[in-house]
Assembly symmetry: D2
């Protein structure tokens, strides 16, 4: 199989580190270059990460000696095929189209282009056909380069459990309340004085609306004729909180299904759909997308964040809701599946299905 | 004014300590006796609390030398008027009716009798008229002794903010997601290995249904003729989580109002109702029941639990909900307003309004 | 008594807030002006502190409407008498001598001038006579303005317990290992990702040597003839660690005393010295400097930081050391006694004893 | 190579779980039986561990269906060769000699027999020759069964770094101050209300003296003629604290060496000894015993506990001490190297060197 040369831009931050970690021994991708801001550039990755590498395993030896380059418009494409972007949105906005214009496949964790009319937000198990949208992108006149994004981390803890339930009928109402981990805020992120022994009922401007908007887009359809995303028509309301957890976003989800059939729905029907939700993606990073835990006090971020190497959403506590129809708890590893792992899976999907 | 002799039963636990603390310098109540299990009895309170007193101020000097008595059926009433019960429900079930039968006014934080058809669950600002129910109690044939309870701590963070909004119309749907503090589990309570850096999506068997059931009762009417509580007819769904916070329960609340008038409701209309919610109870422990905080990242348990000496529910983040009508965050001091302080206020209300 | 007009410079940070809080209702000092960097200036203190005030009680109403001024060399003295400095050392280095030159009494929490040969580091119960040194300062030719500092917070948890033991003989060796709170790092300070569930064996460049150097100076003598500080001749070694505690530095202290008398020393002899260490300072902020706790698991920062309104060092666990002579645990409220409260006490001492 | 049949007694607790985890895929040991108290017995291990298994990886599939047996004196030896004991000392005291009497090799993490005159406390890299002592044990008249212990977890973070320094001269003074993790207290262990945001300057009765006593024994010599342990003659003083860390004990260590040579010692001399401390044990669980980290803020429990799969002590911050000669920070994984992993290594050593 063809090996793709990949780089990570924004390689020194929390998400950038996770990209580097996930690329160790990757069967399809060869990490050859690393980019960061001027502060970290012109030295080896090992040296740039002195006191910044915050993983419990060391920097992969194969990457430690790569010299970090500055990310700017003097970028030379060389033999690169794929860019993984861990940039802040404000920087991504300027740089990502520039890289796409060079003919590069840009897989971005940044929010900058998620609302763009021709940029898809992909979760491979849910909306792989949204890749179609990249043909309408105008970043690269030759139509080789493009931008594909993965969604806001939090919503994936709702999206992956809800998707297989569409077999039961349309989902029309979703209320999520999140308890989000600190790693989601990057580094240095939340000051310890603010959060030890505390809850902060606020994440960032637009976090709550982003969750609703992106869910609408992801569950929607890309209309091949009009080249436009047609949003899925449910009502979504998110309330977001920060809690003193290092990694792993926990969600409390309430939802309603329009079940047109006269057959009453039981808990086991929903749990069966989760257990049978086993799309055969055949991708190196793919895992079972969701698992259901029977213990009444699970999932928990401390114990369950590494389910499926961090790619699996753990679900628990399914029970009837007196207001909407059902409620459950879910847990997402926000740095793996919710960030770098999500983009990795998107890139793998593109390589396998769409790159001819 | 008459001074009432009071005792605390279950005086060594988390809630018992708070009763003792709140009774220091109380203008109406004189704490004369303290009761606990056999382990702690037959010694002074000071000595019994060695390594157990977990308040940041010392044991009130006036109570330190009281000799702790065993709580059992050899209880001698003496000149006591009022009992504050901080017992576990399993113990309360047996003892509280016995004390009521002795002619004592029992103000209980235990859940044992909250579902009893003639035992009211009182929040003085909301349903003081439920005191009427005690006349139908059969614990004391002479009808002097009775049991009055305060509600489950968590629901008060929803009940106090929602009550003044009834002026706008009936509330018909409420979804609450709680992030509850460790002090709510008593001592030793939650093991540190379970909760540091973690969230547990479970509190206790029936915690979620208790919140719904008790809200229905509190917002309902006590029918003087039939002597029965008539539940308030809204749908309530609670999802309860434990977070690594020492004290202070945070709630995310979504709700709908049946607003029959054609006038559109704005945020300021709701905030005005909260700011104008100033019942003049004239009780020593009474404070403004709710305050609204304008900062987008408040309330927070670490900073706001002591609002109104712990008797005020702090509210913030009022915003429209795409599924129900509105949503907000609220914070309750679960050991003060949510437990001992709630019972204290009930006893003060009884003394002022109902004890003739 | 004469009322002194005081200002706080660096009023928006962690220590600045504590100065403001401690000046509420102060009997001798009237806070009339507040200074900060350009970011916070030209608005009321209330407005400048939006989302920055991190105390559990609100901004004192009397100070909320003071307009914050820029701290720079356009400083106009007006009717000010005293300056409390909560500046970072790098800023203090430039500004404090300038203010002293204007004839102001500068009481500084900054480290910038602690090593200056004529600037004393004062702990009122230990070395009040070091005030003598200010006469040799050359900041203000008229000799009215001066700089007086309080020490590094951590060392006070060793200095105050060790000082009364000098009655037993010379202390010749001290080893301290600190477990320091997050508030000591200011705000935003330590990132939460670094410290939740963790220990960091590092505070700052020179933290450990500062502790030794300042202890030598404080326990030393100011020679009136040579105008030079003569260091106390003991060996001091500090090892400093950051722990996930919000406020309150805990120290493990080992020490040796040169006890020349043939009488064997018992624990009770040392504890008696601590209990009888009651200097009658007669100052508004003065409290018993140390207390000894008999419980074997005390002091603890969560429970004991507010002893003596945060001005008292709590000591516990005195026991023999197999290597040096004795060891104990001590706890200091690093934001009160260790910072703003220490400077406050110094200013009160100057007003009472030295300002004629 | 011969495969040894092993069992774990006390298999459901914190240390017991770690034994089970470490025995997965062990090349020499086959875990065939699991023992616990009556509460957990008579069901599969999977079922007994419902809500008790607190590892981030699942119960090894090969052990999940083993039926848990009661640990008592009806114990049938069967084809067992080795017992790993994770019992509490009070239970171990009675049971371990009984099992040794059956001819079993008992490798115990319990403290019950560490002071016994013929029971060695083994750290394979330090005192393997202490195995000699088991020949003097009288538990089993046939002299096949015996008890070997691993030491108190905390002291190993001092013992392993100090041992290679003996090449420089005798170590004569050691002061350690510990910051110990919560997993060291077992489960449920320390209540969360006691430790979140707090430090407790107390571990357990005798924790500090155990560290000194066991260090003396381990560094000492077993006299083959007198059959007695001859303690190493240094002075050791330990001060022990509990901190809110899940796993990993951090130590601050000060020590003196009697260096008789006239050559001055530099930091690099000590670091070299640590880097060259590579005993070739040839055991499956053996790793480099210590590593030195150059970053000034390391080691940290959150980042470094898994060094060498949890078998390596991480050292940092070596610097001169003004009171003793040197000081450093060290970190031990208290559940792996400090408990189950330590016993595992002892058993492997016995199999390889002493079982003929």
């Amino acid at each position: 199989m063809k090996i793709y040369n990949v780089c990570v831009i924004g390689a020194t931050g929390t998400v950038g580190q996770m990209f580097v970690k996930l690329l160790e021994n990757h069967p399809w991708f060869k990490l050859t270059r690393l980019f960061a801001s001027r502060d970290s550039a012109f030295q080896t990755y090992q040296s740039a990460m002195q006191n910044k590498w915050r993983q419990t395993t060391p920097i992969p030896a194969e990457f430690a000696q790569i010299e970090v380059e500055v990310i700017d418009k003097n970028f030379v494409k060389g033999d690169l095929n794929i860019v993984f972007s861990a940039l802040d949105s404000s920087v991504a906005e300027d740089i990502e189209p520039y890289l796409a214009a060079l003919g590069l496949a840009v897989f971005s964790n940044a929010a900058a282009y998620r609302n763009h009319q021709h940029v898809p937000i992909i979760i491979p198990e849910i909306n792989p056909h949204h890749f179609e949208a990249i043909r309408s992108q105008e970043f690269d006149p030759s139509n080789k380069g493009f931008i594909v994004t993965n969604p806001n981390c939090t919503l994936q803890a709702a999206a992956l459990p809800l998707f297989p339930l569409l077999k039961l009928g349309a989902i029309d109402k979703v209320i999520v309340t999140s308890m989000q981990a600190l790693s989601g805020a990057g580094y240095p992120g939340v000051p310890s004085l603010d959060i030890i022994g505390n809850v902060i009922p606020y994440i960032a401007q637009n976090e709550e609306s982003k969750i609703a908007d992106e869910l609408h887009k992801i569950f929607g359809v890309f209309d091949k004729k009009t080249k436009v995303f047609d949003d899925y028509g449910f009502s979504v309301s998110a309330s977001c909180n920060r809690v003193p957890v290092l990694n792993g976003h926990t969600l409390s989800v309430n939802f309603s299904i329009c079940n047109d059939t006269p057959i009453e729905l039981f808990e086991i029907d929903i749990i069966d759909l989760w257990e049978n939700f086993t799309p055969d993606l055949g991708l190196p990073s793919a895992q079972k997308p969701v698992i259901y835990m029977k213990e009444s006090n699970r999932p928990q971020p401390l114990l369950d964040q590494m389910a499926g190497n961090g790619m699996t959403v753990s679900i628990g506590n399914l029970r009837r809701c007196n207001v909407l129809d059902w409620k459950f708890t879910s847990l997402l590893n926000n740095t793996v599946r919710g960030a770098a792992g999500g983009s990795m899976l998107n890139a793998e999907l593109w390589v396998q299905k769409f790159d001819q």
